[in-house]
């Protein structure tokens, strides 16, 4: 490879630091997690933001935060460390800035720390904690220093997780079920109707919600997570408030999805499962795909947020993963890694920074050998390889049987095109 290090296999990856670039020269590279953290915060009414860093971070972050003051009163300011603060720290200035934001009307402030304050070792978490103790406004800090990882998914994981710091213990409402993540489509409606028909109240948290509503989450009896971005938050709420959850968004196979619904049924003491149309057909389709794709090989050069879960599922259908782009690898993803390795495959892991996976990974993984069916999830320049064109977010508005159905039909279509 032309990068700085050799390409590692999944079994060798223990953290983001072990994922090497596909090419030395990233052109022009990927966004930093500050970008996605801001994108997440932008859609939450009641949360103000303060980007803490250099002019580059502050100036360009205005691409995400177009208005310094939103119509509903949220403030989106930036704090640029001056040359003295780069050396001596920014504690005093930052506290004054937070006080000024409070005076301007901010009640909940997310301080987004970028590379330089992280590098100088400024303890921004302590600063926000001290500020919050002495003021009515509450500030929370997230460390989004890009040099600590390759990609930008941490902006979502840690951004949403930090919302938990604004929460307080509330009395349990045994009728309240929270849904974290998108829950559109027929199945989303089906899930909601099932719960509503059983007299449950729903707290629906997906892109675009109010902090005030979100804070009710600590009184939930149960949480259903449909998107991986909210998984760290659900774990935090379980740890700190003992709220059980199920990660429905992590289930791809029919049996896993059914198990998730069984968990919901048991936790909420429901009499029966909802009736989703076409589960039997989906089982059949799953079997068909398995027989059609046995021995096939695939690569994933695109950004798929739950790439390990997807890979695990495809591998269970007898497809062999060769090379994967992993935007973010966190310790809590370890169980998915183990599950993939348990199926006797060990794909190469890379961080694609140009148009294509590098030659080294292609060759080592054996993907270039012209035997059997090969496909790519995401575009590839290899003309003889069937490729599934995907958007920025891959099937993320769907979950459960409906998502798997869409995925398997796309695979079927891919095979037909061949």
């Amino acid at each position: 490879m032309s990068g700085t290090n050799r390409t590692y296999r999944l079994s060798e990856i223990e953290s983001n630091q072990g994922i090497t670039f596909s090419h030395a020269a990233a052109t022009p590279g990927h966004h930093c997690p500050m970008h996605t953290a801001l994108a997440a915060m932008r859609n939450i009414r009641g949360i103000s933001s303060l980007v803490l860093g250099m002019p580059e971070c502050s100036f360009y972050s205005r691409y995400v935060m177009e208005n310094p003051v939103e119509g509903t009163g949220e403030l989106h300011y930036t704090y640029v460390l001056d040359s003295n603060e780069v050396v001596f720290g920014c504690r005093e200035g930052l506290i004054k800035a937070l006080e000024e934001m409070e005076r301007d009307g901010a009640k909940a402030i997310m301080v987004i720390m970028t590379c330089i304050p992280a590098l100088i070792g400024e303890d921004v978490k302590e600063i926000t904690e001290t500020f919050s103790l002495e003021h009515n406004a509450k500030a929370v800090c997230i460390d989004m220093a890009h040099y600590k990882r390759n990609g930008y998914e941490a902006g979502y994981y840690e951004g949403y997780e930090a919302l938990g710091d604004f929460c307080m213990k509330k009395e349990l409402n045994s009728n309240l079920v929270s849904i974290l993540g998108a829950h559109k489509g027929r199945e989303g409606e089906g899930l909601k109707n099932w719960l509503k028909n059983n007299a449950f109240e729903l707290l629906e948290i997906e892109t675009g919600f109010m902090l005030e509503d979100f804070l009710k989450i600590t009184s939930s009896a149960f949480i259903i997570v449909t998107n991986i971005h909210y998984l760290p938050l659900a774990n935090k709420l379980k740890k700190e408030y003992n709220i059980p959850f199920v990660f429905l968004g992590g289930a791809y196979s029919v049996s896993e999805i059914t198990a998730c619904y069984e968990t919901i049924k048991e936790q909420l003491q429901l009499q029966e499962l909802p009736e989703f149309v076409g589960i039997n057909e989906l089982k059949e389709l799953e079997d068909n795909i398995k027989s059609q794709f046995t021995g096939s090989r695939f690569i994933i050069p695109a950004i798929i947020e739950d790439v390990l879960l997807l890979t695990n599922y495809l591998t269970s259908l007898s497809m062999k993963p060769c090379v994967l782009h992993i935007e973010e690898y966190q310790l809590w993803m370890q169980e998915w890694k183990k599950s993939i390795l348990h199926q006797s495959v060990d794909p190469y892991i890379t961080f694609v920074v140009q148009q294509e996976i590098n030659q080294d990974a292609f060759e080592k993984s054996g993907f270039l050998e012209e035997k059997g069916f090969r496909f790519s999830i995401g575009e590839t320049s290899l003309k003889e390889v069937a490729s599934m064109k995907i958007e920025r977010f891959f099937l993320t508005s769907l979950f459960g049987y409906e998502r798997t159905n869409a995925l398997l039909h796309s695979l079927k279509h891919l095979r037909k095109e061949e």
């Binding site: 966004h31 930093c32 500050m34 360009y60 691409y63 330089i116 600590k148």
Partner: protein
């Protein structure tokens, strides 16, 4: 306290990058965290620069920082050279390596030694105080110092030139219509003095044109960021420079007169008369309306730079406008959003700018004057 409620000022590092990016056969390599470059790419993609330098970032990890490993940078340069991705490589500073004291200059020298077939130029202005203007000044100056070596000159002189040439250190991509302004200056120089452009800094150009800078008869400097580079050319190659920004008719005529003296050559009379006549037509109409609607003829323009002072002088002296808020406001789109006038004209670029047409009408020169008159008149005649 460096709290910004609005967009903060760009850094020197950003100034360097913005000044270099129009050199479309260059590769700009930033040794630093990756997020900056993709934003820079977005900024540049919205400038109307259809062809621009290849932006490359190495990214870095905690281990690179802790141990001072610069292998990513070396590998990136190697990849660009090996795959012949560019004719020149620019190494630009970024905040993390500046913080840890990476000696980019020395690394650049070593890399140049390893790859003598391609110029590798290292830029400064990476510190935590440098302004955008200092960054741009550094970029132009370093280009002049680095791309004027004797062997390069000989190579260019062989090809020869039919017409006399000029260098232009013009407006850059932080100003709206920077490409149109550049084109207008080139048009006037061709029409008035039958001269062609050699090196063009700040707007679309390539290394071949930059190598021609030492053959030029004059360097035209539109912004003070370019003075240092122009002085270097004057000192080493005896090329005189003119620092003046031609906004408005009177200013444009004065600028041409100054050039006549420097070049010891009269501008083409017919061309000049025709341009003046056309521009006076537009000024006359605008002037009439400014008198008629003198309560509306108010202009406010942000900052105090060549663009601001030039347009203010023109509006006041030639059109009879009052310099006050509440009428026409000229600034960047963000400021105009917060401080709107009755008529808002974007003259500076911000993250809200989305310019896809490099052929929009200019603000400088004869046609720029006509354009301004037209925009102002449109507002004045509106009921």
């Amino acid at each position: 306290m460096p709290l910004y409620k609005n967009t903060p000022q760009p850094s020197g590092r950003m100034g360097v990058l913005w000044a270099l990016a129009p050199i479309f056969d260059a590769a700009i390599i930033e040794y630093g965290s990756m997020g900056h470059m993709i934003y820079a790419e977005k900024w540049l993609a919205h400038t109307g620069l259809i062809k621009r330098a290849k932006l490359i970032t190495t990214h870095l990890a905690e281990k690179d920082i802790a141990l001072g490993i610069t292998k990513r940078l070396e590998e990136s340069v190697k990849e660009v050279v090996k795959e012949k991705k560019a004719n020149v490589i620019f190494l630009i500073p970024s905040s993390v390596p500046e913080m840890i004291g990476t000696d980019l200059e020395s690394i650049g020298e070593e890399l140049q030694f390893m790859y003598p077939q391609i110029p590798i130029i290292t830029f400064g202005a990476g510190n935590f105080k440098a302004t955008k203007e200092q960054g741009m000044e550094e970029a132009y100056f370093r280009l002049v110092k680095s791309l004027t070596k004797e062997d390069d000159i000989e190579a260019i002189e062989d090809t020869g030139f039919e017409k006399a040439t000029f260098n232009l250190i013009g407006s850059a991509c932080d100003w709206s219509r920077f490409q149109s302004d550049t084109r207008e200056i080139i048009r006037i120089m061709e029409g008035a003095f039958d001269m062609k452009s050699a090196a063009v800094f700040g707007s679309s150009c390539n290394t071949t044109s930059l190598y021609k800078m030492t053959n030029a008869k004059v360097t035209l400097v539109m912004r003070k960021d370019g003075i240092k580079a122009a002085k270097q050319l004057e000192k080493n190659y005896g090329i005189p420079y003119l620092y003046m920004t031609p906004y408005g008719l009177l200013n444009t005529i004065t600028w041409i007169k100054e050039l006549e003296e420097i070049l010891e050559k009269k501008a083409d009379k017919d061309y000049l008369n025709n341009e003046i006549k056309e521009t006076q037509y537009a000024i006359h109409h605008c002037n009439v309306w400014a008198k008629h609607k003198n309560d509306k003829a108010k202009l406010w323009i942000s900052n105090e730079d060549e663009l601001s002072l030039g347009i203010q002088e023109f509006a006041k002296k030639e059109l009879g406008f009052m310099l006050a808020t509440g009428g026409i406001h000229m600034s960047d789109a963000r400021q105009l959003k917060q401080n709107p006038g009755k008529c808002n004209i974007e003259v500076r670029r911000s993250t809200l700018s989305y310019d896809i047409n490099p052929y929009e009408l200019p603000f400088m020169g004869f046609r720029g004057t006509m354009n301004l008159c037209s925009l102002f008149t449109d507002f004045l005649i509106k009921r």
